[in-house]
């Protein structure tokens, strides 16, 4: 089941939708990816009961680039050892940035503005995947009662609309990387605010569609699609385009 489409206008000074083949020295895709758009909707509202689908991305600003080189850290934080946790004075924890330094350039987009369209699928409570083992519940009654029958898609739709209208969000949405935060605005009426995307039609080649968490939540394989912008509009509707993975 899906309710009507929502349209958000998002804009920011910079964006980096990193191409998976060039992620050491990051190079952005020309246009926002559907997965980045999905994350923006999710940063406003997400619950296990809804799954966002991005149908259309309209590119409102001309595609411009900027190159930035930064000092980055090339290491992930190791898990603390038992001794460290117990408070024994052993090897120090922490990363010394001088030792783990990597200078990486990034080719980012600048001054971007998109209109992103999406709807959500409603996942009824009975189909939720939960991590709770049977011990999580006090008794069987509690477990069955948690499947609430008053759950409806309309409830989440109203929640999303309320939040988006007020500019509320779970966390600040961003354009690819967290340092490129973005502003969003819910477009109320698409007939009043008609989009004027850039006048550009071209084939963008294969682009990341999203990660396939359904197949493997721990190590999701990537899904790709043939991205095309037609008069500044990219169709990302899974019901109409082919998504391969």
């Amino acid at each position: 089941m899906n309710l009507h489409n929502w349209c958000l206008e998002v804009c920011g000074d910079y964006a980096c939708f990193t191409r998976p083949e060039m992620k050491v020295e990051r190079v952005s895709y020309d246009v926002m990816t559907p997965s980045a758009a999905r994350a923006i909707f999710e940063s406003i509202l997400w619950k296990p009961a809804i799954r966002w689908n991005v149908t259309r991305i309209e590119v409102m600003n001309p595609i411009k680039w900027i190159s930035v080189r930064r000092n980055e850290v090339g290491k992930t934080v190791p898990a603390p050892t038992a001794k460290q946790m117990a408070g024994v004075a052993v090897a120090p924890m922490g990363i010394f940035i001088e030792d783990e330094r990597q200078q990486r350039a990034g080719l980012f987009l600048r001054d971007v503005r998109y209109r992103i369209h999406a709807y959500f699928d409603f996942v009824p409570p009975s189909e939720h995947k939960t991590n709770h083992s049977s011990e999580f519940w006090a008794d069987e009654q509690e477990q069955t009662e948690i499947v609430r029958f008053d759950e409806t898609a309309a409830k989440y739709a109203a929640m999303f609309e309320r939040r988006a209208k007020k500019g509320q969000c779970f966390h600040r949405p961003y354009l690819g990387c967290r340092e490129f935060s973005c502003d969003f605005r819910l477009i109320d009426d698409l007939t009043v605010e008609v989009a004027r995307p850039i006048d550009e039609t071209r084939d963008l080649g294969y682009m990341l569609y999203d990660m396939d968490f359904d197949r493997n939540a721990d190590d999701p394989p990537a899904l790709f699609f043939r991205a095309q912008i037609e008069n500044g509009v990219m169709n990302t509707d899974r019901r109409q385009i082919e998504v391969r993975g």
Binding site: T76, P80, R110, R163
Partner: protein, 305 residues
Amino acid sequence: MTNEKLVQRRYDFVVLFDVKDGNPNGDPDAGNLPRIDAETGHGLVTDVCLKRKVRNYIGLKMDEKAPHGIFVKEKAVLNNTIEKAYVNLDINLKEPPVDPTDGKKRNKEGQGQGKEIDRAKTFMCQNFYDIRTFGAVLSTGANAGQVRGPVQLTFARSVDPIVSLEHSITRMAVTTEQEAEKQGGDNRTMGRKFTVPYGLYRSHGFVSAPLAQQTGFTEDDLELLWDALINMFEHDRSAARGLMGTRKLFIFEHSSKMGNASVQKLFDAIEITLNDKSRPARDFRDYSVTVDADQIPHGVTLIER
């Protein structure tokens, strides 16, 4: 950690800082020239540069002690390498997991499994201020879990285009014997130094209350963050930086977790104008910072520091 002490409201903030005759953030791609947006001429300071300063300040102020340890360190700040006072979590990685849902026996000795991974994450968040605040990529568990911190910073951008000056400087000594010989004992070398005569930079930041719940970011931590943002340049003096300082910190405090207004509206309420457009700015006094109080909607409080 009690729940009331965790940050319960959304915050958005604007930091204004300036530089006088210094290089706020060198560009490694351009031979350490001050970062500049080539298209508009505005100066840039990266988010990571500012986060480094916050980390250094907290490290100095709290003496690197838990629960205010700093995980990503710079050697200059580090004076004590043995961290004390870890919170004891009572996990013995040699014995079978305490919680039977984590498995009956240990798959690999000395490695956490199941919920213990979460406990390791919690441990890191509890002990390290920077992990709690900015997050970190942790290699706990099979798929490198991540901690997403509540605080998010953006690139700082100068209010007006900047110019960078190049200065040639001399040194009255040489490093090696050979160099001295080559110069016939003249022993002088030339160096270069870049400065921005004056630049007022504006950076935006966000504190997400729901993410604060996840990492245990408290009201006290938030207070420390404001303190760090105000004083971060006071302990970052060096030959390259010149005179830098935080001039103003505007904090928009929402009355709810999710926030009460769109952030752009709030940020637009703060306007910075150059008083005399006919001559370049050389001091903070050359700018006027005005706040349009009418633009701040109900439910949002502006705190100026």
